[in-house]
């Protein structure tokens, strides 16, 4: 035996947790604390059966919280205070006794909070919470109806199961409806939060300038930057080209606003097609596998240095296709503006200058000089690290000669700067290196911590040669495999694949794509081979299907005979006129009219029974006569 009250209390806690969980991380710290404490306090109060804080105090508390957050609402900060208000009000309600009214309030507030969470995050977890929430609320509402019979009623477990099953069937029945709404209701393609709070959000991914020595550490954020659907590639080819930085401003590398005209070409090589799904961000640069030759799907322009810039910088979930060639240099016809790529800021340290001079003497051609510099990096035993980065006045000098440890920025900038001093044009390339291949989804997952900088050096007669000086680090191999290992990695990859499909099919849903998927499925089905012809299958599948349809329709729109029709009219009239007479499924017509003093009704019954109980069908004129009698009642 289980008490209804216990069930209701458990369900209401489930409901409020399900409502708040999706927004919990977006709440203020105070608000989080309030929610957790009042949840625990509420449970304790309920167990003890006493509620120590009384109504008036709670009302005042709610008003205080309301004003505190309401005052913080502004045009660009709308969602956050609203959700905080909802959660604090909910927390206050949790402290009260779980009466029917309070429970309903908690349920409604939770529903609003859950709805509010869709403004913040539209991930697949929202769907999960929503479904669970609906199931809970359906069962809750059904049990809530027991209030009339008394909250302390206890029911036995089989009955409980029966009630719960009935209640659960309600949301299940509504599923088809949900699918229909999914098809027709317009939706946003990114969380409204991003839209409403766009000014406050940082650009994800690589930065548009490289400034070694600006911080001591680099965050190891696992936030997804983009997913690229492509075939599996060798690890050494996983350079995702984003931006080219060609100018040094002091110690900072930036992208100059003037584009040098270069007559470039790419040698024929292995071609890789990718479809890239970036997470929404404000960066106009479209990363793609090095070297991207063509990008389609979004309006983008290609700069001569193979940087693709999006024309419309809208923060929206997009996808684009890229065709890349696995080449390690960009060929140049004619000449380039060497001046532009040789500019170095004043104040290059003496040690760097002498090192450059020394290596220049060792090699004769540009290519040889580049090779020599690489060898020098190797012999220097530089190590790769993301922590304790050099932060002195001249971080490059410190990196090369004393600290000898740094991240890709230090490797690339120092290498590029040395090249420039040696008279070899060079530029930095920013992007990502690596990617975790998701076998389930067939895509590479690229996260923020994979941001990488390498460089290109101009070699006469050949073109822009790609060099990744980070490879010269002693511990370079350890940089691999940063996505965890073993089971943890598998689970993470699976979750990511689920999220990927969710974004693909639900968030950025459009009808055209669904039709395509349908067509694909159709093609796939056609491709299947059965032991007999698939056409024959139609003959096996369709007749039973049609039969089933027919039976269902027949049940639904059963042919109503004249007898049923006139009988319905008669009983309706009789009920209107004589509501106190005996009706009911166990009452015959004669019994119905026995106590009624109505000659027309009696005549009707005599006449009607004479037809029906003689197994005759009503004729049209008989029907009319009965109709007339019924009207006279």
């Amino acid at each position: 035996m289980v008490k209804i009250k216990t069930i209701l209390t458990i369900l209401i806690y489930c409901i409020c947790i399900l409502g708040v969980a999706p927004v919990f991380l977006y709440l203020d710290v105070i608000c989080r604390l309030i929610f957790v404490t009042s949840l625990i306090a509420g449970i304790i109060f309920d167990r003890k059966g006493r509620h120590y804080i009384h109504g008036l105090a709670l009302t005042i508390l709610s008003i205080v919280f309301f004003f505190y957050y309401a005052l913080r609402i502004s045009s660009d900060n709308l969602v956050s205070p609203a959700i905080n208000i909802l959660v604090t009000l909910l927390s206050v309600r949790l402290l009260t006794e779980k009466t029917g009214r309070n429970c309903m309030q908690i349920a409604v507030l939770s529903l609003f909070t859950l709805a509010g969470s869709s403004l913040v995050n539209l991930g697949i977890t929202f769907l999960l919470h929503l479904v669970l929430f609906l199931l809970c609320i359906a069962v809750f509402l059904v049990f809530q109806t027991f209030y009339a019979t008394g909250i302390n009623t206890a029911i036995c477990v089989p009955d409980l199961k029966k009630i719960a099953a009935t209640a659960l069937s309600m949301p299940l029945i509504s599923l088809p409806l949900m699918l229909v709404f999914f098809m027709i209701i317009p939706r946003t393609e990114y969380p409204l939060w991003n839209f409403l709070n766009s000014s406050g959000q940082k650009v994800t991914g690589f930065s548009e300038k490289v400034q070694p020595g600006s911080s001591t550490g680099v965050s190891e954020s696992k936030n997804v930057v983009f997913r690229a659907q492509s075939r599996r590639l060798a690890d050494k080819d996983l350079y995702w080209r984003g931006i080219v930085l060609d100018t040094m401003e002091g110690k900072t590398w930036v992208r100059s606003s003037v584009r040098e005209h270069e007559n470039t070409f790419v040698e024929k090589g292995s071609t890789v097609h990718q479809t890239i799904f970036p997470e929404p961000n404000t960066s106009p640069y479209l990363p793609a596998l090095n070297l991207p030759v063509n990008i389609s799907g979004v309006q983008a322009g290609r700069d001569p240095d193979y940087t693709f810039v999006r024309r419309q910088s809208r923060q929206k979930r997009v996808k684009y296709d890229s065709v890349s060639v696995l080449a390690d240099f960009i060929g140049i016809h004619g000449r380039i503006n060497k001046e532009h790529y040789l500019r170095t800021p004043a104040g290059t340290s003496r040690r760097i200058m002498s090192l450059a001079q020394k290596i220049s003497l060792e090699g004769t051609t540009d290519e040889e000089k580049v090779m020599r510099l690489g060898q020098d990096f190797v012999t220097r035993k530089l190590s790769y690290t993301n922590n304790d980065l050099p932060r002195s006045e001249d971080p490059i000098d410190e990196f090369l000669f004393s600290n000898k440890a740094g991240n890709c920025e230090f490797f690339a900038t120092s290498f590029a700067q040395l090249l420039r001093v040696m008279g070899i044009p060079s530029r930095l390339v920013g992007g990502y290196y690596g990617g975790t291949y998701n076998d389930m989804g067939g895509y590479y997952l690229v996260t923020e911590d994979m941001a990488h900088v390498w460089l290109e050096a101009y070699v006469d007669g050949k073109g822009w040669l790609m060099i990744d000086p980070s490879r010269f680090a002693t511990n370079y191999a350890q940089r691999e495999n940063r996505f965890g290992t073993g089971l943890f990695k598998d689970v993470r990859l699976m979750m990511d694949a689920l999220g990927y499909y969710w974004n693909q099919t639900v968030i950025s849903y459009d009808l055209e794509k669904q039709v395509q998927v349908l067509k694909k499925t159709n093609d796939a089905v056609r491709g299947l081979r059965f032991s007999f012809e698939s056409r024959k299958l139609i003959y096996f599948v369709f007749p039973p299907f049609l039969c089933l349809l027919f039976i269902i329709l027949r049940k639904k729109f059963r042919y109503t005979s004249l007898e049923e029709k006139i009988l319905r009219t008669f009983i309706k009239k009789l009920r209107q006129k004589y509501p106190d007479a005996r009706y009911g499924p166990d009452t015959g017509l004669h019994d119905m009219v026995k106590s009624i003093d109505d000659p027309a009704a009696r005549q009707f019954v005599e006449y009607y029974a004479g037809v029906v109980y003689r197994d005759r069908k009503l004729k049209r004129n008989e029907y009319d006569r009965l109709r007339e009698l019924a009207d006279r009642i």
Binding site: E563, P585, D586, G588, D591, G610, Y613, R614, D615
Partner: protein, 313 residues
Amino acid sequence: MNLPKRDEILHVIETLASRYLRGKIRAVKLSMIALLSGGHILLEDIPGLGKTTLALALSGALGLSFGRIQCTSDLMPSDITGLSIYKREEAAFKFFKGPVFNNIVLVDEINRAMPRTQSALLEAMEERKVTVEGITHPLPDPFLVIATQNPMEQVGTYPLPESQMDRFIIRTGIGYPPENIEKTIIRGGSIRDEIMQMPVLLVQNDIVVARQCIRQDIYISDKIVEYMYRLIRETRNNPLILSGISTRGGINMADAAKARAYLEGRDYVIPEDVQSVAVAVGAHRLVLNQENEGLNKEELLDSLLKNIEVPLA
């Protein structure tokens, strides 16, 4: 609509119920239904409520011969059927008919007779003939047995087995008459003498004609058959009931419903006909589970009936 002899029969019921058997209209009607449908009736009630009077009045009004058997535990089958006695003058055995050779036979306290005698009687009821010493004697037509039994007294009785209960088309009680009627009856005293002198209201042939009409002309629709069948099926499937209404029970129910329709002046059966006879026809045929033996069979069957939807269209 032509229902021969209906008016006369209604007149008999009217006269009996208003003058001689006041307050027993239901029992009179059911007896008439039993007579018209060719079955027998079992009156089950405590003594002194007019069971015998009912039987006497019925036979008197219908102008039928009447025989009475008072059952005891030493009653022999030959006491019912009759026996052959050697006649010296004729130098041969002569068969003397027993009380069963009458149109209406009142078998009082049938459960006091020993099973052997009971079965002889029940056989006569079913076969409508009696075979004694190799010679078959047909019983008169119409033939109606009105058996009575006292449900309260159980000592020294041989309760009728279920299979034999099935032979009675109708079992009913009589019940106490309404208060004011009972007072009049008490004041007026016994009316046995009056009954003995009551005029004959019907001739034997009238009953035969009416019976034929009921058998041939009263229409019973498929819907009504379905309705009855559903009731029967319910009695068979009900967990409280060990064995439900038999097929013979179903036939009897249809016959009784037809007779009732005849009395109501219709040549077709309506669900109300079934409802009014179902309990009287069906209840005594139910065999309840051992643990539910205390239940009232009438009420049980009535509740089953109330759960079945009446066919209206």
